[in-house]
Symmetry: C2
């Protein structure tokens, strides 16, 4: 293949990837909308930001789903870890803003 | 609030989160299906697995989208980085399997 001009095969693949990425980003934004409500609720009732038991359940459930979908389970675990760490950061901030830090 | 029994408010939030997570995982699986085709194509025509210019474009585009969706752009960048690193890993493997390593 030449280095000049647009590679149409690659451009078609990339157009699909771009659509999927936009959907992923909007879905992640929706997820954080829900977890922000969880964070506000946890801060209000005094629940800790992190819940290791729930996290382990999530990772196990999604790893199984990932495997069925032909996705590397170690990747799905890294992905969920990234998301959960961001959520805990939000929850900790919500807790601090609610003046419950340190209890 | 008590530590006993099911917290229905939290359970309702978590049910939404679980649905969103399942959708995210399936969408990621779909994304990797496309990038596997890209990897096979790149290996066939001799394109390198990584394309830094394309990556920078993707990160810029998604950061903008993330900001509009009220998502932390630094999170969306970390997310895309994780995905792209996994894709490059796949592409490198495809290239090696096609016997083009080192050229």
């Amino acid at each position: 293949m030449g280095g000049d001009g647009i590679d149409e095969t690659l451009a078609a693949f990339r157009s699909s990837i771009d659509n999927i990425d936009a959907t992923l980003i909007l879905l992640l934004a929706e997820r954080f909308k829900v977890t922000r409500q969880v964070g506000a609720y946890k801060a209000r009732v005094g629940l800790p930001p992190a819940d290791p038991e729930r996290e382990n359940e999530q990772i196990a459930r999604l790893s199984e789903l990932a495997e069925r979908a032909n996705l590397d389970p170690s990747f799905s675990e890294k992905f969920l870890r990234l998301v959960i760490d961001e959520v805990i950061r939000h929850h900790t901030r919500a807790r601090n803003e609610a003046g419950r830090a340190g209890d």
